[in-house]
Each structure stands twice: as C-alpha cells, then as structure tokens.
Amino acid sequence: MWADQVWAVLRKDVLLEARSRANVNAIVFFAGLVLLVFSFALGPNRAHLQTAAAGILWLALIFSGVLAFGRIYQIEAENGAFEGLLLVAQNRSAIYLGKMLGATVVMLLVEIVLVPLMAVLYDLDLSGGMPILLLACLLGTIGFAAVGALYGALTMSLRAREVLLPLLLLPVTVPILLGAVKATGVALNGGHGDLAVWIELLVAFDIVFVTAGLLTFEYAVGE
C-alpha cells in the first residue's frame, strides 16, 4: 500500500513533466547554459577546462537541481493540490519518497543531456570511466534529491522561498558535492585517487538523508 502510494506520486510527477515538457526543457537548457558560462569565465584553455570539468558539471547540476526541487512543489501549489495529496496519503513519508524519486528522475534526464554536451565542449573521453561516472551521477543525484525534496517541501509555503531553498540546501549538501566531484574527476581524468572512500561517503550520505527525510517529512509539511 505504501509502495503503491510512492509509485503513484512518482508516476504523477514524471508524467506531468513528460506531458508539459516545458520544465524539463527549461532546466536542461539552463544547465547547459551554466556549462557554457563557466567555460567563458575560465577561458578557452582546454587542459584547464578538462581538469575543472567535474566541478563545473556538478555546479551546473546543483543550480538546475535547486530549480527542480522548488518546481516539484510549485506544481502542487495550484488549486490546493498539495492539501489533497496530504489528505489521501496514509503515511506522508510515501509522498516524500515519491517526490524525491521524481526529482531524481528529472535530474538524471538533465544529466543524460548534460554529460555528452560537456564531453563535446571540453573534448573529454568518456569511454574509460563510464561505470564510475554513472555511479557518481546516480549516488550524487540521490543525495541532492534526498535533501532537496525535504527542504523544497519545507520552504514551499514561505515567503522568500527562492532564496531560502538554496541557502538551506547548499551547505548541507557540501559532502555530496565534494564526493561527487572527486568521483567524477576520477572518471573523467583517470587515476584512482581514493575513489572507494568517496563512493562510501556518497552512499553514507544517501542512506542518512533519505532516512532523515522519511522520518521528518511529515513535520516539514502541513499540520
């Protein structure tokens, strides 16, 4: 029953995004723009850009993620849709998990476009580190979405939510940023570094904050 509700929320959110498309398109476009703007800021030196690529990719993902996490609750603001959702859910943690997985799917779609774009722009060879890259993207995105889906719900009813969401989200996800950038760097530029430790850190973060989200979501929303 709980799993059905998670699936229903997830399916609803992904369908909404797939049918309207305006949002995903805007977010993908924005993320690509961030890649481009950072390349302008850092200059056209290819070697320079290649070493910075992992960091730039994750900055683009964070910025577009902030938009996505705000967005998944903004679509509920109309016609009191969120109150309805809160009423039908037996256990509110189901809404959290559905929202979180929905945001993860949207972010993964962004990454499917963004990573090849980055490879072309910075002339990177992705073939060698593909499995590591996929793992880093998946774990990193889940971590961001775990906190983002909780804080998005928390800030949805506040004034100044556009400022408050990144202000709350970014410092908490610093470990995710560090881990994802390091692991992505290994995937893009070779070398092993301390890959295993970073992956462990990402897994630990994901477990801690998905659990925290499941437990505290009902206090973050509604009565």
Binding site: V147, L150, Y151, L154, T155, L158, R159, A160, L164, L167, L168, L170, P171, V172, V174, P175, L178, G179, K182, D194, V197, W198, L201, A204, F205, V208, F209, A212, T216, Y219, A220
Partner: protein
Amino acid sequence: MEWIERRGQVLGTAALGLLMVGGYLGLVWAPPDVNQHDVMRIMYLHVPIAWDGELAFGVVFVASIMYLWKRDLKWDRLAAAAAELGVLFTALTVALGSIWARPVWGVWWTWDPKLTATAVLFIIYVGYLMLRLVAEDPVRRARQAAVVGIVGFLDVPLIHLSSQLWRGLHQGATFRVLQDPTLDDRMQVALIVNLVAFTVLFAFFLGQRLSLGRLEQRRDEILWEEAQRV
C-alpha cells in the same frame, strides 16, 4: 532548563571568575610553546570557543527532537537560543582560527579541514536562523525549524569527514588537543580550566537568551490579543 534561566547571577559571576582565572593561567602561568612561543596562547580561547559552538549545535539537535516529541514551545525557544549562540561561537572560532593561522601558517585562510568544516556549519545554522526569521506562524515555524535543526546536525560528522578526505587522506589532525603528548601539564590544566569557564559562560548566555525569548513570546501573544480586539 529553568534552572539556568533563574540562576543567571550565579552563572554570570561564576563565568566571570573562571574566565579571569583561565585568562591568568593561559596568558601568564602556562609556559610558552616551544615552536610557536606566545602565539600558541590563542589556543586557550580558540579551543573553548570552538567547543561552545559544537555544544550549541548539539543542544539545537536535542531540543529539536524534544520539540517534535513533546510539542512544547519551550523546546523550540531552547533550540532558537542555542542556534544563535552556535552561530556566534562558530563565527568567533573561524575568526580566531584565521588570526592564529596568519603567524603560524603565513596566511589568513587555508583550506584546513577543521576551518572549512566550521565555516560550512556556520552557514548551515545561519540558514536555520534565516528560516526562523521568514516563518510567521510560531507553531509551524517551530516544526520547520526543528526539521532543519535535526538535518543540519546529522550532517556534522559527514562534513568533518568529507573536508578531511578532501584535503588528502593521510593528513593527520592539525591539532590534537588532550591526547597531544607534546602538550605540557600546565598547558593542559590551563586549557581545561578555560573549557570549563567557557561552558559556564555558554550556560549563562543560554539562560539570558531563554528569558529574553520568553518575554518575546509574551509580547507576541499580547500584540496578537490586541489585534484580535481591534
């Protein structure tokens, strides 16, 4: 909790006395460091203040859980008071660390793991205070702030771990207090006295902020009643 509110004078006097003793022990009685000479004496301030910051965030965490469990606004007042003190003390910790780094490492700021982690914690709890500022309904605000207070504190070990890994796995702690064999007996005594002094000072500040919070709550209730009558 009520005790530290009522015993403000006792705590304040005790804190003042202990700080004077601690200041004397740290600045005069304890010997200068072999390498850093007198510069190292900032430790007697830096370490206790850093401890107060971590203690404050621990109090926010416990008070947030207690609020969600008991639904009593006194726990929310405690969390808010402790968060303000935590922000104050972590800001001081970063400033003092920076002042210490200048003569010892030659720069105001380095990406030292502890300095970096403290700065991130500072921003997390500034966010917590910002949330409290913009939220209007007191009960709802208490609940939302409690979530942020809990999530923020869960992040503390991960932030410390990741900033340490980030600077390279094999770099040891920059400074290991109390287990450090090079720390002279008199230095340890001076440090412990200062730690106690700053803990008492923390309790004093917390009590003062709590009674202020109680007055603020009373004021808001009166204003609300007035508004209802008009």
